[in-house]
């Protein structure tokens, strides 16, 4: 059933849409963000204006954006998918040529007062594009090689553009996010098995090629992997971040050291404590209980996304929600693995907690789309 067949009169209209929003999700998102404000306040040593306040402002703006998107019918967003994807590709190209250099990589564009990270936007528009593609595609052709190749190209083009920025973390997330949509859409398991085998081979090749002129990754990326594999080997250099993060998390114990009592963060031992490593402060100050509670909140968010998707009968909406939820999961899974020393440091923020404008806005846009799909689901 496509959106044209909706019985439009059963879809709520006007302000009545407010009643049909997925309120548990709104509450959960706000709750997680509030935890973020609290920690940002604590990291700044009890100062609101350093990080917490700007973050709250962004959240407020993002929330308004989320509601606005939610009120717009989902079929409008479906029609916009191609355009949004195209614009994102253009922005990624623009960032190649005009982007600001930060951390040795071209990652953002300054447009007036706005600072845009097109790679973040890409995560959403890629999912939209793929969902729209599979909504359009005849279900029987889903696993046909030709029709598999097209979405693969759709994924690989932006991935390539992000890799050359270079931003390994985001490009991996694009790959996996795209793959999640394809998987949900029902592409044959064998393709995934083949890719998995290929990846295993590639990983071997990457390590084998190290030190040769045609090595695949930058030296710093190799070093990150080394550091990840054995952080104590270089405790003052690259391993420092991971070691200090683990110390912060571990020293929190069961109940944590208490709000604003985290010595690791307050005394600056923690690297990137307000962005990628914010979870370590949560663990230090609120302990296992606090960290586990956050994990539970994330779990609930995903649970409500999946139930919403499964209750929806619109193929585009279903794939969109699952794709975005998968992206959301990837964010937190990669970030948490990274700060807990289970994955190399790749620079992926913790959703709704890490300080940063682009990510917060993009996340709320994504949840706006999820809400729109929920509100305008066929009944």
């Amino acid at each position: 059933m496509s959106f044209l067949e909706y019985q439009l009169k059963t879809v709520p209209g006007g302000l009545r849409k407010v009643l049909h929003l997925n309120w548990p999700l709104v509450v959960l998102v706000t709750a997680v963000s509030s935890v973020g404000f609290l920690i940002l306040y604590s990291i700044a040593g009890g100062n609101l204006s350093v990080w917490a306040e700007p973050q709250m402002k962004r959240f407020a703006v993002g929330l308004v954006l989320m509601f606005a998107i939610a009120f717009v019918p989902i079929w409008f967003w479906r029609n916009m998918a191609g355009l949004a994807f195209g614009i994102s590709i253009l922005l990624l190209l623009a960032v190649e040529f005009f982007g600001a250099v930060g951390m040795g990589a071209q990652r953002w564009l300054d447009i007036g007062p706005l600072r845009i990270q097109p790679s973040e936007l890409m995560k959403v528009t890629l999912v939209m594009m793929l969902a729209a593609y599979y909504d359009w595609l005849d279900i029987k052709k889903t696993s046909h090689p030709l029709w598999v190749l097209i979405p693969v190209v759709m994924i690989l083009v932006p991935t390539f553009l992000v890799v050359i920025q270079p931003n390994l973390g985001t490009s991996l997330m694009l790959l996996m996010g795209g793959a999640a949509v394809m998987f949900a859409a029902g592409v044959s398991i064998w393709y995934f098995a083949a890719v998995a085998a290929l990846v295993a081979g590639l990983v071997f090749a990457v390590f084998a090629a190290r030190g040769t002129p045609w090595q695949f990754l930058h030296d710093y990326q190799y070093r990150r992997i080394d550091t990840f594999l054995d952080p104590s080997a270089d405790p003052l250099g690259a391993g420092y971040n991971i070691m200090q993060a683990k110390i912060a998390l571990g020293s929190g114990g069961w109940g944590g050291k208490g709000f604003m009592q985290g010595t690791q963060s307050r005394l600056n031992f923690l690297p990137e404590k307000h962005t990628d490593f914010i979870f370590t402060t949560l663990g230090e100050e609120f302990g296992f209980v606090g960290a586990f509670s956050l994990l539970a909140l994330y779990g609930l968010i995903l649970f409500f996304c999946f139930t919403s998707a499964m209750a929806n009968k619109d193929r585009f909406s279903q794939l969109l929600i699952i794709g975005l939820a998968a992206n959301f999961f990837l964010y937190l899974a990669v970030n948490l693995s990274m700060v807990m020393g289970m994955a190399p440091v790749v620079g992926v923020p913790l959703p709704f907690l890490s300080y940063g404008g682009s990510v917060m806005l993009v996340l709320l846009i994504a949840f706006g789309l999820i809400q729109s799909a929920h509100v305008h689901r066929p009944r």
Binding site: M1, S2, L4, E5, W136, L137, D138, I139, A180, F183, A184, A185, G186, Q244, K246, I247, A248, L249, G250, S251, G252, G253, W254, T263, Q264, L267, N268, F269, G283, E284, G287, F288, A291, F292, L295, Y298, G299, L302, F306, A309, M310, K313, R315, Q318, L319, I322, A326, F329, A333, L336, S337, M340, M342
Partner: protein
Amino acid sequence: MRRTARDTEESARRINRRSLLMGGAMVAMFAVLGARMRHLSVEQADEFRLLAEENRINMRLIPPERGLILDRNGKLIAGNEQNYRVTITREDAGDVDTVLARLSRLIPVTAEDMERIRRDIDRNSPFVPIIVADRLPWEDFSKVAMNAPTLPGVTPEVGLSRHYPLVEDFSHVVGYVGPVSEKDLEERPNPPPVLRIPEFQIGKIGVERWMEETLRGSAGNKRIEVNHVGRVMRELERTDGTPGQDIQLTLDVDVQNFVQARLGEESASCVVMDVNTGEIIACASSPGFDPNLFVRGITQRDYSALMEDDHRPLANKTVQGAYPPGSTFKMVTALAALEAGVITPESSYSCPGYIEFGDRRFHCWKRGGHGRVDLARSLSESCDVYYYEIAQKVGIDKIAEMGRRLGLGIRHDLPMSAITEGIMPDRAWKMERWGEDWRIGDTINASIGQGYVLASPLQLAVMTARLATGRAIVPRILHTVGGQPVDLPQAEPLGLDPAGLRSIRDGMFEVMNSQRGTAFSSRVADDTMVLAGKTGTSQVRNITAAERARGVVSNDDLPWERRDHALYVGYAPFDNPKYAVSVVVEHGGGGSAVAAPIARDAILRALHGDIPPLTAYPTNQRGRIETDLNALKERLRDTGPAGSSRA
């Protein structure tokens, strides 16, 4: 595209199936994350908690305040002075160059300093204060303090540093402190951690060194919280150390100052000692040096100047200097002969001006000879031949034994550096030292304190005190330590025949008070402070036959370093001895002309408790003495109030 209802159903079913698979994978991942979290913050919590504490907590030692060194009346000899310094902190200063330029207009900052400051700034973290100027005078310091608002990052600070207000007066006895060197650490098998504090100073020589443990005290410590770059965030805990103990010396700063001034520019030394207790009242070696220079870190130029000075200002001549005692040794020879029974005080010998032994001729200082000489005359007129005769009778071993009983040739342990043992030679010594048999000529030389005999002014003072009391007086300079008086054991009698001792003392009385005595011109006129003593003039060169043939060469015609040493030992009052004194003036000439007047002034100063009264001097000398004493008063130092304590 349009789909059939069946397609739609099929699509939704497939998506839901795949969604459940994905959801399952996510749940698995959540389980892994949760388990990892538990592993870190529950199972390994203790380990990480320890690491977090190690990260943030540093121990810092608090240097203890060093004990003061005071004189017997509580006057300050070595104290801790407030040290005004100015530091600059890069991160607070902002534009370091501008601030330094502004600062250099207020206080003198040399180009050399500037280079060091810049180097230190570059080398250290931005929050580390760098010393711009140290030991500023108060005026400069207050200028900086007043201009503080225009000098961001500049902090005027007050610290404590060792200070010797009496400058060179106690440079040798008390010594000085300096930075801890590698050698200092090596010398101590288990150096206390306080020595590792940067800029901590320890005693290098003298009392400062030998009483280091007492003066130092023990360090306190504080636990401080630091951030990732080591900046101190706050103090968590503080344990105060114990300050070092004060030490009171037996010396009297006013006597010491008087004696030091009296020695003047001579390369000389003087010891004044209490004959009953062994307490050293004054222990002066000249020229002195300013110990404060060493505390600050002496410049190469100043150090070279001190090292190259032929008057050796760095040497503590009172205990390090080993001189042939010359005629001041004659009491030892005489007493050895009396104790051995080879002579009586009345025994007399004829002095023709020399004796011949084999092919050698040993001269008396008086070419014409003294005629018949008994013990009293031999001392008062210092006849050499008398001693040549009696020494042959008693033998060197007995003389040496008597010398050691009187305190020569043994090391007197005092908390001072490089204390010499001197040399009290005997047969065994010569065999061991030179592998040669003792010859009779050696005895003859030794009998008048020449040849191998060497003694320090301290030993000579001890010898005199023992002669004056007949007791084994031991020298001491510690009066109280940490407020507790140092034990004062009663000196044991030497077990000498009182009659023999009396005749020696009478001889020493004659030296001063007989018309023909060698030190008659240095007698004391005041009956309550009568001085008895002995002069000595020791040769530092051999008089060649050619010189002798040409006639006696006057000392004044010789270069300074070849002139005779002038010596004197004595005690007063004669009838009830209180103080012993010894004086050595290197290359000063005659003992009676040079050393005796110094000794008289010194012992009178100690006895009288103030500048000696003119009435203590013979009438005909008072005019000259008055002039001299007035000139001396000008050079005396204000030693501060008695009983001064920790500031």
